[in-house]
Symmetry: C2
Subunit: 368 residues, 2 copies
């Protein structure tokens, strides 16, 4: 089985823009073509769309709008980690020999239907993600003696880091007081603790090893893949630890033959402020209960190796595009072209993308 | 790269039942488990859902309801050929080494949102599939001097064949006059020329070669895969021939090292009566313009090698389940357990599944 590389990408500004889903998919795909002078429409064997949008047949529509006539073409949906699911599917099409060149394009509108968790009647009317995030936050704070002031640092840090990301929805820094004084949504969550659903698109191009050199001298290899679905309903979940993330990270690191200490830069799924320290623990970057210490240390040292583009809190969270945007950030970091966001000596990176209270997670390891 | 086999299946009755999509997915999955005494929930590495339903995260929901905690889990959508797209995706997960055992479950409700083609504004308000089918029918009739009486035979034949399919929605035979006197929907289409959107579910289990023997002594191998997307908008299409089907069939047959004359039994995507003769030509079973002659000969000889379960016209068309139900029929034929539908000497079978005026097609070759 040959290697699979990421050879190009395109991404839009994340915003509250009222665009059609088809236009959003096309926009980042066009940017990808602009970034790939040697890419011909005929090169593309498969087009996978990642979205929670209710429109059907979007991969065929994107293909027609882009002048591509692919063999394989369909939409992939798995709520917030649709993007990395589509990337792993692209990997499998290539590694299986069914395709050599795959375009993955993710997009979402600010009013995505994926924001409301309709299926879990055990939660009554508490269907918005802020409710699981609120339970996570309460449990995590109680278990590890974490305060609201501690968690606010995640938001301060990620909004700050987003100021170096030209595509981020966040346009200004916030102080600790700004976060703590922002609108209180639940007992434990304020507005600035939350990532914002938004409009945006992101596309990447993956190829087999043999085809990489046509498109780039600097491919980024997917060397580790880990995925796990624990449940769909929230009631079976752990509340202060992400078990699906732990399992996915363990598989991905094993496949890549690395340890978490080898990772130079990582995109973490900080849908809410509590998710960043919890994920850092579950990914094995630090011990249980010490995720917040790690966040504080990084922030104090102005070290932005975790969520250099500002994470979901700073960048915005267009569901179907998020996992792809996270992956593009790590590609840029490893290609040493992340401008002001560039982390020193970035050679091994990690992407962590999850859905619905970490009931499922995907972890990717990327390398030069 | 090892082989990929189909080792079990489960299917529901197709009906106009008002069931929840989650219940439909679970129903055929339960039947699959009942058919697989050696299958443990822990065996399953991936759960792929095929549907046009707007509900999100259905693969995680199905997994939780079934007690499965898969690695890979997402929905695949590509309108009417979502089912075979999900099967090909399952194939790629296995052939790439990312999974050994994959459950593919498709389901749809009678009121599926995939029935209305929202994106093609070039058609004004003519968004229902009967309008493309009507243009297909008019063009095909004119080009090859085919009559309404000729095409009605497709419906008569497939309703008749469906009477031996316990899961079919059709519950009686129709005469030529019944078809010709059924409600006229457009200039060229009557009610009985159309497959009916309906409620139904179908699941199959695919495994790597090494894992097959745990589940069955009689695996059916996927030896050929062909897929092609030509366009999404109808205006770029051919009207009396299915170009995407021709290309998909050519690829699938080449991969399987067979010719169309080697095929013993086939499931053809007869969304409308005209689709069967057109597809027979595009698949290479007969020459251009002689598809209707082939249908007539088979009907006269009571040879049901084409659409033994009654096709979409006889069985009903629950979009996301259709491609999986077609595949199950060919598996049963090759395992010589199709009861009254059994075709003689069935060793090589073909599945043809398409979307939206054959703007995209999937062809699978299955073998003992």
């Amino acid at each position: 089985m040959g290697k699979v590389g990421i050879v190009s990408y395109g991404i839009t500004k994340f915003s509250k823009e009222d665009s059609k889903i088809e236009s959003l998919l096309l926009k980042s795909t066009k940017k990808l073509f602009e970034n790939s002078p040697n890419l011909s429409r005929n090169d593309i064997d498969a087009v996978l769309v990642s979205t929670n949008n209710n429109s059907k047949y979007l991969s065929a529509i994107l293909s027609e709008m882009s002048g591509i006539q692919p063999k394989i073409s369909h939409t992939v949906e798995s709520l917030c980690n649709s993007g990395t699911n589509a990337i792993v599917s692209a990997y499998s099409y290539i590694a299986s020999g069914l395709a050599d060149v795959v375009l993955v394009s993710g997009a979402e509108r600010y009013d995505s239907p994926g924001q409301i968790l309709e299926w879990d009647n055990s939660r009554g009317e508490f269907k918005h993600p802020i409710f699981w995030a609120s339970i996570f936050t309460k449990s995590y704070k109680r278990e590890f003696s974490i305060t609201d002031e501690d968690l606010a640092i995640v938001s301060v840090k990620n909004h700050k880091q987003a100021q170096n990301n030209p595509n981020a929805i966040s346009e200004k820094e916030y102080s600790l007081d700004d976060v703590l004084n922002s609108k209180r949504l639940t007992d434990d969550l304020r507005l600035l603790d939350c990532s914002r659903p938004c409009t945006g698109g992101a596309s990447i191009l993956l190829t087999s090893e043999d085809f990489c050199s046509k498109f780039t001298d600097d491919p980024i290899w997917i060397t580790g893949i880990g995925q796990k679905t624990i449940s769909a309903g929230f009631t079976k979940n752990t509340f202060d630890y992400m078990e699906s993330t732990r399992i996915a990270a363990s598989s991905a690191l094993k496949m890549s033959k690395h340890n978490s200490s080898d990772i130079d830069v990582a995109e973490i799924h900080d849908a809410f402020s509590v998710c960043e320290p919890m994920a850092l623990e579950s990914l094995g970057f630090t011990d249980k209960g010490s995720g917040m210490d790690m966040v504080k240390e990084l922030y104090a040292a102005n070290n932005f190796k975790i969520n250099p583009r500002g994470g979901l809190i700073g960048s915005g969270h267009p569901l179907g595009a998020t996992g792809i945007a996270q992956t593009i950030e790590i590609v840029q970091q490893l290609q040493i072209c992340a401008n002001k966001r560039q982390v020193d000596d970035a050679t091994i990176g990690l992407v962590h993308n999850m859905s619905a209270a970490a009931t499922s997670s995907t972890v990717l390891i990327l390398e030069k």
